[in-house]
Assembly symmetry: C2
Homo-oligomer: 346 residues x 2
């Protein structure tokens, strides 16, 4: 049994344990943040961890009023001209905790006297050593090179810190439902394995999401690029409408993450336009019948997920889609070519 599929299926257990084991850690982190004068978060991450950061950008903005700036690591490494970080919570997100460029951002934050936080699967790593506060995502060893369970665990860490910062107890009750929703989605495994056959010869596609699920669009696209070598370009639906939609011709595949929520209506009207005016091929992740009926390939989400938690569930059918498409194309799910587990970029 390949590790990638195993690790996708480990997610409900990982998430359940994480909520249970790390609630106090989240609350302690929130307390320290409240004590300091933090004006914004300054986040350094790469790859899937950067996509987790995109989730933090929306969630912490919407629920905690905390703006988030994405660090430009090359300013710290190649240019040696880091910005002044007064008022920043300096945050590093990294599965391995070993990427030199992410570590160098935390180092600089520490030198400038900022509060520093690491979200990592490696609490003994260089990144964790630099941080005042460490959130260990406790996902266990991830063998497959493409991140799955560490991605959802990072999202969960971000959601738990958000719930703790807000101090709203009902948010924790909502969080506790996530593992069961993920379980429900995993039951579509065989359906998805059949569905992907249709995309055996797909070489390029776009992936659309907005708001909280902007992160999901990026992560779905990244899994496809890493595992299936498809050119998969992620977009905010707003940016897509503003120009790139022009490239959609008949049969062009558009993958969309559109659960119910505040941005649903605008996403739906774009899907209607794409299907009826552009004759696009649609793969749609949603809980909404109207959106699913527009799709040649519908991927159904459980009903009733609060919008802020949809990214933790909606990425799971996307992971299965990428995993099965990798197999359909005859590639290796565990050791994709050209990838290393630890990113050594400076």
């Amino acid at each position: 049994m390949p590790s990638l599929r195993d690790e996708i299926f480990e997610q409900p257990a990982c998430l359940r344990a994480l909520i249970h084991n790390q609630k106090e850690t989240a609350q302690r982190i929130a307390e320290v943040i409240h004590q300091r004068e933090v004006h914004y978060a300054f986040l350094a991450a790469r790859g899937s961890s950067d996509n987790a950061g995109r989730y933090a950008n929306y969630l912490w903005g919407a629920h905690n009023r905390l703006p988030l700036a994405l660090a430009t690591p090359s300013l710290f490494t190649y240019y040696k001209s880091p910005p002044a970080l007064k008022g920043a919570l300096v945050l590093g997100v990294s599965q391995s905790g070993k990427s030199p460029d992410i570590v160098s951002v935390l180092d600089e934050g520490r030198n400038q006297g900022c509060l520093t936080l690491a979200i990592t699967n490696a609490p003994q790593s260089p990144l964790a050593e630099r941080a005042d506060l460490v959130f260990d995502i406790q996902a266990g060893l991830e063998k497959a090179v493409a991140a799955t369970k560490t991605y959802t665990a990072q999202l969960m860490a971000i959601a738990m810190i958000s719930a703790a910062l807000a101090g709203i107890e009902s948010r924790w009750e909502e969080l506790e439902n996530v593992p069961a929703w993920v379980d429900q989605v995993l039951r579509q495994d065989e359906t998805i394995a059949r569905m992907v056959q249709r995309y055996r010869y797909m070489h390029l596609c776009v992936v659309l999401g907005r708001g909280f699920n902007y992160a999901t669009a990026f992560e779905w696209a990244l899994k496809l690029k890493e595992l299936t070598y498809i050119v998969a370009e992620p977009y905010s639906s707003a940016d897509f409408q503003h120009g790139p939609i022009a490239m959609v011709e008949g049969g062009f595949p558009v993958l969309a993450v559109t659960p119910s929520g505040m941005v649903f209506e605008t996403m739906l009207s774009m899907l209607i336009d794409l299907r009826h005016n552009h004759a696009a091929e649609l793969v749609v992740i949603s809980d909404n019948d109207q959106a699913l009926e527009l799709a040649q390939s519908p991927l159904r989400l459980p009903a009733g997920i609060p919008e802020w938690l949809t990214p933790l569930v909606s990425i799971v059918p996307a992971q299965l889609f990428a995993c099965h498409l990798t197999l359909a194309k005859g590639y290796d799910t565990d050791q994709p070519r050209g990838l290393n587990k630890v990113t050594r970029t400076r």
Copy 2:
């Protein structure tokens, strides 16, 4: 004569006038910023203006120590949950000054008592009306739907504000050379018109840049998507190396922006890898012989441009490339399908 090509050629004159006419404006803006307790810039923009914001992210970080957060406009519009913007300079960049979502970010910044700045080609626009400070880029009417002269004028505005904030007179002398460098690049017009024939049937490509020219990679990709309907995906070379490089097979086109500077060596070693180990097709914008010799299609930059100003010059051969490729593919350069000049996204 189509407007797009005209407007590309108007750039030296626009930039020359802008440096001359708006130096005092830049200095006044810098003075006001210095008087206020600004910890970071919070930027709202879409499309080409967002790419100009990517330049500000690197330049203001490196030369002015000012971190920059990219706004998530949907938090302001659909979610009605804007973050707390204490300590932020709230900046809107928009050619038309009319995009409702960008205007709503400025509105919120103003309501929260932040200093607000608009960089726009329309000093009477709703965006400019909301702003405490307005930098009019004075590029004249842009008829072509795809932005060219307003993009370089926005970069110039960002560079002028940076020079004024730093208060370093030699930076102004460097700035004054930009129009002549752009003139030099424009002389390659016919060469580029011949070169693009090779890409008549290119349907997808990636565009790489890093550091200051991360913005250039995004803008080149956007021009190709808007005008030629090619799937052109922009990447930081660091993110590209971390995964997506796996999709590069023999003949896969990689467009790269690699002028001399702090990130040149890392970009060069990636180009060597792409050419020799992946048999990639390379289109390279550079002043460096070694980088240009690796390319099937070299686009030469003038020698001696200070790295911080390379984005103002390196985008110009990319604009010509996109313009001529549009003609080679038989499309309309002035009225691309699916695009409006004013973005009405919320």
